[in-house]
């Protein structure tokens, strides 16, 4: 097969559109043909360039909220029933749900609604932070630089430590505004992945063990410890993110626990 005939197949190969036999043919051809190897390299280069330019756009929060409410039958008018709960309890049947609602009642429903909103805000904060120049307000790998930076900006002292020895290197800190209050964001890097740990004083004093959830392709872990609310978010897989949380929890000297 000539190079001219090969050319469209190279793109098909690059786009994973060819069957195994054809793919092997291309791989063999590319080994011996500089022009086609060059073409393949250019395709890869272009793909990397486009991704590096971050052409992806996150839908504005306003649009997302609007989309989430679209087609909602009467949710706003029946605050006790939230669809998340309905979904969770669906398999147990409405009777079980109604029974449960008697003792869990409204607070859980409200908690679910507001937590969903907070999770959305965390995702938005994370996505914003990944855009050019927004990752850190204070860029430093030193906890003694990052921690004091927060004083006067937030009304609490976040626990800041570099976990480089565990594979999570501190990159810096950032001010966030979540759930209508200032929050501290600590930025960590694990290989190519950024982890944002966002924290602020919890409304409820009771500790809560970590819960994981996935939103818009990101993994999130949420927990409450010693009066602080924590949200860790990353495109890391769930297991690695949970590992990060374990490292943080095991290392953290938190107020009232030391």
């Amino acid at each position: 097969m000539s190079c001219a005939e090969m050319r469209p197949l190279i793109e098909g190969y690059f786009d994973h559109e060819l069957d195994l036999v054809r793919s092997l043919e291309i791989e063999k051809h590319v080994e011996s043909c500089t022009a086609c190897a060059e073409h393949l390299k250019h395709l890869q280069g272009l793909n990397l360039t486009l991704h590096a330019a971050r052409l992806h756009e996150a839908a504005p929060e306003r649009l997302r909220r609007w989309a989430e409410s679209l087609g909602e039958p009467r949710a706003k008018r029946v605050p006790v029933f939230h669809w998340d709960m309905f979904h969770q309890w669906g398999t147990l049947g409405v009777a079980a749900f109604a029974g449960a609602a008697l003792w869990i009642g409204v607070p859980l429903a409200e908690r679910t609604v507001s937590e969903r909103q907070v999770a959305d805000e965390i995702v938005s904060a994370h996505v914003r932070s990944l855009m050019a120049g927004h990752l850190t307000d204070v860029a430093s790998t030193h906890q003694h630089t990052v921690k004091p930076w927060f004083s006067g900006k937030v009304d609490f002292a976040p626990f800041v430590r570099d976990f480089d020895e565990f594979g999570f290197a501190l990159k810096g800190g950032r001010l966030e505004y979540v759930s209508q209050r200032p929050a501290a964001a600590l930025v960590y890097q694990h290989h190519q992945h950024i982890v944002n740990l966002i924290l602020w004083p919890a409304a409820a004093a009771r500790d809560r063990s970590s819960e994981t959830l996935t939103r818009r392709g990101y993994n999130l872990v949420h927990w409450i410890r010693s009066g602080m609310t924590y949200w860790a978010i990353s495109d890391l897989n769930s297991r690695d993110l949970q590992q990060f949380v374990q490292i943080f929890e095991s290392q953290a000297v938190l107020p009232g626990t030391s």
Binding site: D15, L46, A59, P73, W83, F86
Partner: protein
């Protein structure tokens, strides 16, 4: 199906693809505000036609609506390829008086890439976005754009070649 189930099913079908929808609309209309309007309109259409959606590839289904809404929107508001989009170009063009190296370091290369993509003719631009950014396969792109797979392949090849050309200069200067 109860209204709750309907709502849940609709949300499950479209919400995971909202960013993809916004990105596609953003790169077809080339303006963020327009993209927001288009996606809103597309969502309303999607809800309206949702009863006719038989399951399957929700992303391709929703992106088809977004793509068609974008085109209707362009036709209604401006002629796509005559429009020069001066507003955005002014905003994204790097300062030509400044030191080119410094501009690169400040992330202007990103702007250049965005400019190059924005300048692609619409028919190439949409397939490049769908393939390179959204990762749709040829069959899905053919369904979204409404052309045969062969056309997808040739448009994609030409779109990529044009981008290589306009970015080649940039790369060699890096």
């Amino acid at each position: 199906m109860s209204p709750q189930d309907d709502h849940r099913a609709f949300q499950d079908a479209v919400l995971p693809h909202l960013d993809a929808a916004y990105t596609l609309a953003r790169w077809i209309t080339r303006r963020p505000q327009d993209a927001e309007d288009v996606v809103q309109e597309a969502l309303v259409r999607a809800l309206k036609y949702f009863s006719g959606y038989r399951g399957g590839n929700a992303r391709a289904w929703f992106l088809t609506i977004v793509r068609n809404t974008s085109f209707t929107w362009l036709q209604r508001h401006r002629s796509p390829e005559i429009q020069t989009d001066s507003e955005e170009r002014m905003a994204e063009r790097p300062d030509e008086n400044s030191n080119p190296e410094a501009v690169m370091l400040q992330g202007a290369s990103r702007q250049k890439v965005r400019l190059a993509v924005g300048e692609l003719p619409l028919e190439f631009r949409e397939v490049v976005i769908l393939r390179e950014l959204e990762g749709l396969d040829y069959k899905e792109i053919a369904a979204v754009v409404g052309v045969p797979i062969g056309t997808v392949m040739s448009r994609l090849a030409r779109g990529r070649a044009r981008l290589q050309e306009s970015l080649g200069e940039m790369r060699s200067s890096l």
